[in-house]
Symmetry: C2
Subunit: 474 residues, 2 copies
C-alpha cells in the first residue's frame, strides 16, 4: 500500500489487504496463542490478530488502527518475560504479529552484514549467516522461537554480550513503520555514517512503543571455528573477576562467555535434576563456566584449548582459580552448560520461584552480592536465594524459591531494587519493562530522565497508539 | 548552581559564576582561537566565550543564554572539519568551551570503564586508561588536541573502528546539561540496561544541537601488549577485501586497522615529501597497511607477527596479496604509517586540495571506486583524484588537488555525493554535518527521516538555542 492510499475502512477490507491467513478474530480460538505469553504470566484481549507478510501490510494495519482509534501491540515470538508483546485485559487493540514477515532479504559476506525481516526466527538468522561462512552472535535461551524483531525491540542480551555487545550493538540500520503508517527506510549497512541523529537507537529497545521494526541490517562477524570450554572453581566473586580479567588478556580478548554459578546452585541442580554431572566435586563457593573461541580456518597455530589452558595456568598462579577442568569433548561441554541451563527448572522443584534480572557495575558485584544475600535473608529468612549470571556484563540472575513466594514478590522486588539503585545498577538488565516493570521505571528513573522519555513518546507517537500502557506512561 | 536558582542576570554575574578566566569577551583578542576553527575554514562571532570548570558553570551559561535570548555553541578542541564548533558570522551566541572541564573523574579497571569529563584531551584519556593496564581504543589524527566531549558529540571514528567501533560504541553513559539548564545524570557504567529509551544515543553524534555532554562513562578494553604491522601489495580492491577477510579470520578477528592506499598516492607521497621510504617498490595498483595485536601479558604462545605471517601466507595462496613486508621494528612500522599520514600534505604540494569523507558498504567499494574514478575524471579531466581509506569500515577519504579546485568544489561535491547515494553510502562517514554539510543533509535524507530529525530537535530544544543553524534546520 503506497503512501497516500486511504486506510482500510472496515475489518473485511483490512483482512483482504493482509491476504489469506492475515487476520484472526480476537474472539476465536486461533487467537489464544497471541493473547497469552509463552510463560503464561500475562493474558489479554484484542480486536484481532493481524499477520502481515510485508511492509505494505504493516502500513495497512497502522492506518486501520488509526482510523478506528485502536492501539497496536507489535509481537514477535511472544517469548519475552515482561508482557511487552501481550495486550492488556481491557482490549481496544490489534495485535500485530510480525511472524509471517520472515524473509532473510540478503546476506552480504564481504560487507559482513545481512538484512533480515522482523519475523525471522533468531536461530534461522544465525544459520543464514553460517551458510555464508559468517557469524551472527546473538544467542539466548529462546533462540528457537524468538524473532529478530522482538530481539531488537527488546535489545536482547544473552550469553556472549561480553564479546559482541547487546542486540542494539549488532544493528547497522532499520526499516520502521511509524505510528502514522509512514515507512522510514533506514536500512543502511554502513560502519560509519555521521549524517545527523541516529534514529535507529530510538526504536531499538523501545519495545514497540514508538514504531514497528520491520527489518534490520545486522552486523556479522568471522565464524568461530573452534571453541574451548572450562569449568573453574574460584574462592570468591572478586577472584572470579580476576580470573575473567586474566583469561580476557591472555586469549586476546577471545572470551565468548563467562557464567558465574554458586556452589549452592550446583548442588541444587545435581540434586533435583536427572543426568547432571558435577564437573568439579570440590567445595568451592563459586564456579565460572568460561569459553574462548578462535576464527582461524587453517590448520596450525595455537588451538583455543591451549590458549585457555595457558590462561588458567596464570589464574592458578594468581590465586584466581583453585581448580579447573577443560572440556575434552562436545559432550563434556554440554554437561557444563546443562548445570547453567537447568538451574531455573531445578529451583522450580523446590517451590514456586521468582527471578530477577539485574546488572551492576562489574566491579560492584562482590559487594552487591554480599549485601543482597544479607538483606534478602533478613527480609524473608525462610526463603532460599540463588544467583547465577553473565559475569562479564555484570548481569546477575537472582532467584528465590518457596511456597509463599508470590505473596512476597512486591516486598522482595522493592528490597532488591532499592539495593540495586544504591549500587548504581539496573533493575532490568535484559528483560526490559513491558507491562511488568512500568512502575519501577517511574520509581527508579530520575524525573529528568522520565520526562525526556515521555517527551520522546509524545513526539513519535502523539496519539499513544503504539503498545499503549507499556514502558512509559504517556 | 543547583536547580531552582535564578539565571545570571548580566554578564558580570555570569563571569563571577564562572570564576577566574571563565569569561572572555567576544571582541577581545583572546577570543580569536574560539572563533576560528583549527583548519581556518570557518570564522564567526560570539558575545563571549564561556569556560566553565564544572557542571554548575555549564548550567549557569545555559540559563544566562536563555534569559538573554542567545544561542549556545558548545566547543571542544575545535579540531572538527565541518565548522560544528565555530559560530556563524552573525553572532548572537555564546561559545561554550568545555576545555577547562577536564578531569578524569574515575577509572574502574575491574569494570573496564572510566568516567571522563568533556574537556579531557583524547590522548590524556588514552593515558589514564593505560595507567590502569586498560585500553581506550579511540584514536585519530587530532588526538593530541581533540577532546572527549567533541569526540562523542561528533561520534568520532578513526583508525581502529573495524575492531572497537565508533566513539558512540565506546560509551556506556552520559552526563548532559539540557537546553533549559537541567542536568540529566545518565552516567551509568553498565553493560546491560534495558530500562526504557536509551537517551545517550540522542546526544552522541548530535554535534551539540540537543544538549551539552559534560562527562561520559567510557568502555575500556584489555591493553594490547604487542602489535604486528604489514604492508601488503594487492592487485585490486576486491583482492584487498579478500585479504582483510583472511587476516580477520586467521588472527581471531584481531585486526586493529586496515588502510587501503593506491600506488598513485604512494608515488605522490614519496615524490613530494622528504624521508619517505616506499616499503615495496613494485608495481601493484593497491596496498594495504594492516595491523593485528595481542593482549597477552605472559610470555609464550604465538606472537602477533607469527599470526600475521601465517595469515599472509593464506592470502598469497588465495591470490589476495602478491607481496608483503612485516615490520621488523618500530621504525619500520612508523615508516608504513608515514605514507598514510603524509598523504594529505603531499597532495597540498600539488595544489590546493579538497577532500571527501564517504562510506560505502564494504562490498561496494570496488565498483564504487571504479565508477567514481570514471565520473570524476569526466567531470574535471585536468584534476588529479586520489583515494585512501579505512577499508574495514568502508570509509574512503577521497581527495582532489588542482589550482582551480575551489571553483569546482560544488560541482565535484554533487557529482561524488550523487554517486555515493546510488551505492547506498554516506556523504559524511566520520566528519559530521556541522555548518558545512547542512544542505547535503537535507538533500540526501528522505523527507521522513529529515522530518523525524526536525521533530527531535524541536522536542529537545524548542527554543532552538543549541548550536543554532548546525546539522538540521529547525
Amino acid at each position: 500500500m503506497p503512501d497516500g492510499i486511504a486506510a482500510p475502512t472496515d475489518v473485511e477490507e483490512l483482512s483482504r489487504a493482509l491476504g489469506a491467513g492475515g487476520w484472526i478474530d480476537g474472539a476465536s480460538d486461533d487467537a489464544a496463542p497471541y493473547l497469552t505469553d509463552w510463560s503464561g504470566q500475562f493474558t489479554g484481549k484484542a480486536v484481532g490478530i493481524a499477520r502481515p507478510t510485508d511492509v505494505a501490510g504493516v502500513q495497512a494495519v497502522m492506518r486501520y488502527a488509526k482510523a478506528q482509534g485502536l492501539g497496536v501491540v507489535p509481537q514477535g515470538g511472544h517469548t519475552g518475560l515482561v508482557g511487552g508483546g501481550t495486550p492488556f485485559a481491557n482490549g481496544g487493540v490489534v495485535v500485530l504479529s510480525l511472524k509471517r514477515m520472515n524473509r532473510v532479504r540478503s546476506v552480504d559476506p564481504a560487507n559482513y552484514t545481512m538484512v533480515a525481516e522482523a519475523g525471522v526466527i533468531l536461530v534461522e538468522a544465525q544459520q543464514a549467516a553460517l551458510a555464508h561462512d559468517r557469524f551472527f552472535p546473538l544467542s539466548l535461551g529462546a533462540e528457537g522461537s524468538c524473532t529478530i524483531g522482538g530481539n531488537l525491540s527488546t535489545n536482547a542480551g544473552g550469553v556472549n554480550v561480553v564479546r559482541y555487545g547487546n542486540a542494539r550493538e549488532l544493528v547497522l540500520g532499520l526499516e520502521v513503520v511509524l505510528p502514522d503508517g509512514e515507512v522510514w527506510n533506514g536500512l543502511r549497512a554502513l560502519r560509519k555514517d555521521n549524517t545527523g541523529y541516529h534514529l535507529k537507537h530510538l526504536f531499538l529497545g523501545a519495545e514497540g512503543t514508538l514504531g514497528v521494526i520491520t527489518a534490520a541490517a545486522l552486523k556479522l562477524f568471522p565464524k568461530p571455528t573452534k571453541t574451548a570450554s572450562a569449568w573453574a572453581a574460584t574462592p570468591s566473586i572478586e577472584h572470579a573477576l580476576q580470573l575473567l580479567d586474566i583469561v580476557r588478556a591472555e586469549t586476546g580478548d577471545a572470551v565468548e562467555t563467562s557464567e558465574l554459578i554458586t556452589r549452592t546452585l550446583v548442588d541444587t541442580v545435581v540434586e533435583k535434576m536427572d543426568g547432571v554431572r558435577d564437573p568439579l566435586a570440590d567445595d568451592s563457593p563459586f564456579y565460572v563456566l568460561i569459553e574462548v573461541s578462535t576464527t582461524r580456518r587453517s590448520e596450525g597455530g595455537e588451538p583455543p584449548e591451549a590458549l585457555l589452558e595457558a590462561a588458567l595456568g596464570q589464574a592458578f598462579e594468581a590465586g584466581a582459580a583453585t581448580n579447573a577442568v577443560i572440556a575434552q569433548s562436545e559432550q563434556q561441554r554440554a554437561d557444563f552448560w546443562k548445570i547453567r541451563e537447568l538451574a531455573p527448572e531445578a529451583l522450580q522443584r523446590i517451590g514456586p520461584r521468582i527471578s530477577w534480572d539485574v546488572t551492576l557495575p562489574i566491579s560492584a558485584l562482590p559487594q552487591f552480592y554480599a549485601a543482597a544475600a544479607k538483606k534478602m535473608a533478613e527480609t524473608a529468612p525462610h526463603v532460599g536465594f540463588y544467583g547465577f549470571g553473565h559475569m562479564g556484563d555484570g548481569n546477575l540472575h537472582y532467584l528465590a524459591a518457596s511456597d509463599d513466594i508470590k505473596d512476597l514478590r512486591a516486598l522482595l522486588d522493592r528490597t532488591l531494587y532499592d539495593l540495586v539503585a544504591e549500587f548504581d545498577g539496573s533493575f532490568s538488565a535484559e528483560h526490559g519493562i513491558g507491562q511488568k516493570r512500568v512502575e519501577e521505571l517511574e520509581r527508579y528513573k530520575s524525573p529528568v530522565e522520565y520526562r525526556l522519555m515521555q517527551a520522546l513518546k509524545q513526539t513519535l507517537d502523539p496519539d499513544g497508539r503504539m503498545n499503549p500502557g507499556k514502558v512509559v506512561h504517556a
